[in-house]
């Protein structure tokens, strides 16, 4: 209680006890919004359970087991019960647990959740904002579907839940629970909870501070994780049609508390704690995200001298720092550029000189060769000349001797 305000007793009825009613009326008019994320292997029964929980038939596609990456598919529906309107968004994982290498699987889910937080944060930080009209897409509850192996959690489950427990309210459920007998179920639940505790995974605890619901919530906290069975088919039991699964050996009734914990899940998730889930998301998970994000950007609540610093000052300081940083970088880049240009210039000059040298050398070689060739040609021509002279001389001689012979022959002939 505030020290400056002293309690005063009233002497008559004022009427402000209707405040809760006004609040309720207002929120009923506005409508409520709730977002559920279902994480689980393909075919484990996520869509069927949603259908069963909300007693309707959402459009569901059967996914293939061969998706290369984990994806998330979100669908929004408008539901109405009595005069209460609910905008329900169901987000399902697609291809979770199917890949050979599942090391990246959790990252896609974490990214999705962070994206929703981010868009809310952006809206909050806007100058002109309309938060009450904003469609809140932050995940309020995460149902994690555990495969009913009967032994313990899978390694993928542990890794994923560890990454998600600080971002979203995790409610683990055992899917397809009609394959585990009662005694096995008891051991299985104990094993799962002990593994979660020993690995420090914080799942959502139903709140026990409000007296009206603390008793039932405490009891339910001990029954976690809920072993559920979903069914969209109906079977006639007695003279009623109930949601059930028909086997050759018996009929599993979804709403029979002896058969599975479906009724408990519905009560806890929807009837009793829906509002608390929303509140926890906003006050705990979202605040944590916001704090981390702003601290990353460099904002603090108190400066190094432990004096409170306003957002404005921090923002200005950050901007200044950023601009200075920018200028410095520009300077650096410019200098580096100048240096590179200089280097390139010297390189090119070097190359030019080398080429020049080579050119000179080649020219020299060429002229040498040429002069050699000229010499050779000259000597060849000399030889030719001498040869032709010799030839002429021999021909002359030959001609002369031929003439002499011819004369001699003539003489001989004449003599005869």
């Amino acid at each position: 209680m505030d020290k400056n305000a002293r309690p005063l007793s009233l002497s008559g009825h004022v009427g402000f006890d209707s405040l809760p009613h006004q609040l309720v009326n207002k929120s009923t008019c506005q409508g409520f919004c709730f977002n559920i994320l279902c994480i689980g292997e393909t075919g484990i029964g996520k869509s069927t359970l949603m259908d069963t929980l909300f007693n309707t038939n959402f459009e569901n596609f059967e996914s293939s087991h061969f998706e290369p990456k984990v994806k998330l598919r979100a669908q929004t529906y408008d539901l109405q019960e009595s005069n209460v309107r609910l905008k329900l968004t169901i987000v399902n994982t697609v291809g979770f647990g199917d890949q050979m290498n599942k090391q990246e699987s959790y990252q896609h889910v974490v990214d999705y959740i962070d994206t929703q937080f981010e868009s809310y944060l952006q809206e909050e930080l806007k100058i002109k904002r309309s938060l009450h009209n904003y469609h809140d897409s932050r995940i309020h509850a995460c149902l994690y579907f555990i495969a009913p192996s009967g032994h313990s959690l899978k390694s993928l489950d542990l890794v994923t839940m560890k990454k998600l427990d600080s971002k979203v309210n995790i409610i683990p459920v055992i899917a397809k629970a009609d394959t585990i007998s009662k005694s096995e179920l008891h051991k299985f639940k104990i094993k799962i909870m002990s593994e979660l505790v020993s690995n420090g995974v914080q799942i959502y605890q139903f709140p026990t501070d409000d007296e009206t619901v603390s008793k039932i919530n405490t009891a339910m906290n001990g029954i976690l994780p809920f072993a559920v069975v979903g069914s969209s088919e109906e079977v006639k039991i007695g003279n009623k049609m109930v949601k059930a699964r028909q086997y050759p050996w018996g009929v599993v009734q979804v709403e029979n508390e002896n058969h599975c914990d479906f009724v408990k899940l519905r009560e806890m998730l929807i009837c009793v704690n829906m509002e608390d889930l929303r509140e926890q998301t906003h006050t705990r998970h979202y605040e944590l995200y916001r704090r981390c994000k702003l601290e990353e950007m460099g904002f603090t609540d108190t400066n190094p001298e432990s004096k409170p610093v306003s957002l404005q000052e921090t923002y200005e300081a950050k901007r200044h720092e950023f601009l200075g940083d920018l200028q410095r970088r520009e300077e650096e880049m410019r200098q580096m550029f100048v240096q590179r240009v200089k280097e390139k210039e010297t390189e090119l000059k070097e190359a030019e000189r080398e080429l020049q040298g080579k050119f000179e050398q080649l020219k020299r070689l060429h002229s040498e060769e040429k002069s050699k060739l000229d010499e050779k040609r000259r000597s060849l021509e000399d030889e030719i000349n001498t040869f032709s002279k010799k030839k002429a001389a021999t021909e002359l001689l030959q001609g002369q001797s031929f003439n002499t012979n011819a004369n001699l022959k003539k003489d001989k002939d004449r003599k005869k």
Binding site: H65, Q103, S149, H151, V159, K176, S198, Y247
Partner: protein, 372 residues
Amino acid sequence: MTTNIRYKSRIPIKSDETTEEKQYVGFATLPNQVHRKSVKKGFDFTLMVAGESGMGKSTLVNSLFLTDLYKDRKLLNSEERINQTVEIIKHTVDIEEKGVKLKLTIVDTPGFGDAVNNNECWKPITDYIDQQFEQYFRDESGLNRKNIQDNRVHCCLYFIPPFGHGLRPVDVEFMKALHEKVNVVPLIAKADCLTPNEIKKLKDRVREEIERFGIKVYQFPECDSDEDEEFKQLDKELKECCPLAVIGSNTVVETRGQRVRGRLYPWGIVEVENQSHCDFVKLRNMLIRSHMHDLKDVTCDVHYENYRAQCIQDMTSKLTQDNRMESPIPILPLSTPDVETDRLIKMKDEELARMQEMLNKMQQQIHDGKDQ
């Protein structure tokens, strides 16, 4: 239930007519002799079970052979399984029934598919199978072949989870890695989570996917035309039921005045041996009562022969590469030191070739220079 002895020995009644006496030789008793000898020798069978943790493999094996093979088993926690590698664990038991002895070896593969990164998680399993083949190959090629131990895996039961819509990538990869080394029999595990319609849908899906991905699972051999009608009918039913949807149980429950193996639920009791509840009986008949020997034969005649042919081919191609004489006796692949010398020899050869080339080039240049 058809008996094990399906052949009938035909010892004709001795008649007074001499013609019939002349026709009777007596080798119609051969089947009896085979039977006697085999009972004396005893049988062995190696069964491998593979699948993710929690699929009910151990429970099924216990139900099949009506023993408790996994008394002191320690299961890992999920944080220990994040980086788990696959181990191979063998359990061997000697069981006897009506004078027939069976040495049964169950090869368990804990850790398969449990880690977060399951790339190539079947490698230890294929290595194990190859090792057994290699061991048998060595023994077969040895000098003293009196007591060869046959540790080859005769059958591999693969457990497909019933929680999905069909086969998953890890199932497809595993079966494709193993279908040419061992007889793969796919089973749908924990079938008590599926209604009859769902079972039918899943079986059709799985059959279609097996065909689409080209996985060669174990095929039941065709019946001979002279088998009796009952047997042919059973065989036909068996083929239509693949993959078999099974449920196992370690506990005995009381139902309809009888004590049977089953699972007790608040809504009813599942009987393991009830044919309308699951295909356990069909699996047991197939595996133990009718097709055990066929599984062994296919392993010997098909998978082992493939391995052997491949092995010998690799070895002879290696021998011709090294230019050594082909030896009549298959020499087993030599260990690493020779691989080293091979490599060195190859390197030297290449160097020589290079130098020869350079020499030629220089000669050519001189020759050209001379011409100029």
